[in-house]
Symmetry: C2
Subunit: 360 residues, 2 copies
Amino acid sequence: MTSPADAPPGVRRAAVVGIGLIGGSIGLALRSRGWHVTGSDIDPARGERALELGAVHALGEDPDAEITFVATPVGAIPDAAKTALARGGIVTDVGGVKAPVVAAVDDPLFVGGHPMAGSEQDGIEGADGGLFEGATWVLTPTLDTDSEAYTHVRSVIRSLGADIVALPPDRHDALVAVVSHVPHLAAATLMGLAADEAREHPAVLRLVAGGFRDMTRIAAGQPGIWLDICTQNSEAILDVLDRLGADLAAMRERVATGDLDALRASLERSRHARVNLPSRAERAGGLAEVRVPVPDRPGVLAEVTTLLAELDVNIEDLEIAHSTEGPRGVLVMVVAPDACEQVRMALSERGFRPSACRLV
Amino acid sequence: MTSPADAPPGVRRAAVVGIGLIGGSIGLALRSRGWHVTGSDIDPARGERALELGAVHALGEDPDAEITFVATPVGAIPDAAKTALARGGIVTDVGGVKAPVVAAVDDPLFVGGHPMAGSEQDGIEGADGGLFEGATWVLTPTLDTDSEAYTHVRSVIRSLGADIVALPPDRHDALVAVVSHVPHLAAATLMGLAADEAREHPAVLRLVAGGFRDMTRIAAGQPGIWLDICTQNSEAILDVLDRLGADLAAMRERVATGDLDALRASLERSRHARVNLPSRAERAGGLAEVRVPVPDRPGVLAEVTTLLAELDVNIEDLEIAHSTEGPRGVLVMVVAPDACEQVRMALSERGFRPSACRLV
């Protein structure tokens, strides 16, 4: 076992707090890119296992880590993040709920994050350095976030192969309730319903085909994190559960009344939406760059990145080129060519003065 | 193009009515096993395409077909089945709803069927001769079904690689509402909810991870067959939709009240059920045989097969050995060794006189 102090000079240093599936995967991904990684976990056995698996170089604290990833359960993130901030460096987290975490930490050098990646295999044993390749990783800068801290976190995460989406924390929470939290509860409910049926009619489980297996796969996950999520994001989850209940009642009405036109229209619309779900593969092709002079203050970055998220434009790359002449910088954003003009116009409407789009 | 009359003497002959994904796959599977297959379809272009793809040898009718598979949409099955029965031979179908079909056809030589297999690719272009390998294929004999017709259909379908589950038609319909029909409507509803959200917040679609993709995959299918299913099986579907609504309301209550113990118990139960979903791979190992003397009359077979389905015991093989001395036969059933004693006892309780179990 090496200690943090054993890192050769010049090597970039990171810390990971909480070494489960995500923390372990971050450790592996960083190590494979040449970083020195120090890990810690509330469970000493898990820490030792992470060391054995090579997810971290050393256990303990590294006061010289330039970035700390907090990968504990959601409820434990604020304390862990504050401890890490007190030690120095920039801190980010991977919690599935963002607004309460970001509000509780409340520090310009903390950038909330949420990698949309997982595995059926929970825990450190499922850790995989390639887990984030092509995955979406949400960052939730606020008006108070330090812009350099944000770009720093952003560039490290980009280097792990993830696509970044910037969203306000509460928007993140509302959206993941729609595409993750409530679907999970619905999958568990459908599986529970089939299990009820199986008590009386065991044959039902032999009729399970691929579609049902696909639909309920996520219900096989450990309940632990969902208790945290349902506690921390209960408001958004209840709202979406109510909408789901109303939409299912509308579907029931179409079946009950035999309104085949309405049923067809509803199924056709869902089919269209499902077939057109964006995939990373669709984002091939060249890129375009637009430059925007901005005052170098917190908040501007969040305003711009949130605007692009609203437009559903992904920021493929981003840097802040500081002016040598005062507190202004130039924000350089790289986006898909067909989206660039839309971005330019939206920025103009908000009072920014963007450059022309340029293919890069 | 060959005509049905071109089949060499001695070659077994089958007909397929309706040559889409399932009909085309049956054609390919039968051909690869040496059958001569004649197909027909209400759409001449689809018929020609099936011929080009080799799913059938010939288009038209084959009065000498020993078995006809009706693979039309559910609403069209009764008429197509009656036409085929009038031509002669045994007839089966592949409709996703069974009670109304079986009641409408009402013929001892018709055996209702439902292969639990599909593909994301609809239509004849997705046809695949291996589609049924390892798939569950439900057959729904009734008290009026001719037992030889049943064993005949059963043996042909077994030869395509499918596992047969025998169920009464209305039980089939109630069970597929739980594991197929309502999950499909729920997937479409979840996808629709995300599409609604995307109109206001396009970024939501970038947060879609693998779990949501898995859950909504079946919503990408063509709505057509679902209109038929929702019409023909509306009663069972409405019943299950009501149970799903009540179960989701209970889940909502756990979240709203922060009852983490109840939430954990519910998620844990679903997890356990999902992890323990039976898969074909689990059914390895030897087999055991039990013999049951039975009067050779319709109804006995349905009684026995339904009993085994209730016990959740799969009949791996089945034949009726006719007595040479009168209207009695011996039903030979092959089941998993660990299930054989249970089957024997259940049969005894119903007044049958089964043999001892014997490993085969």
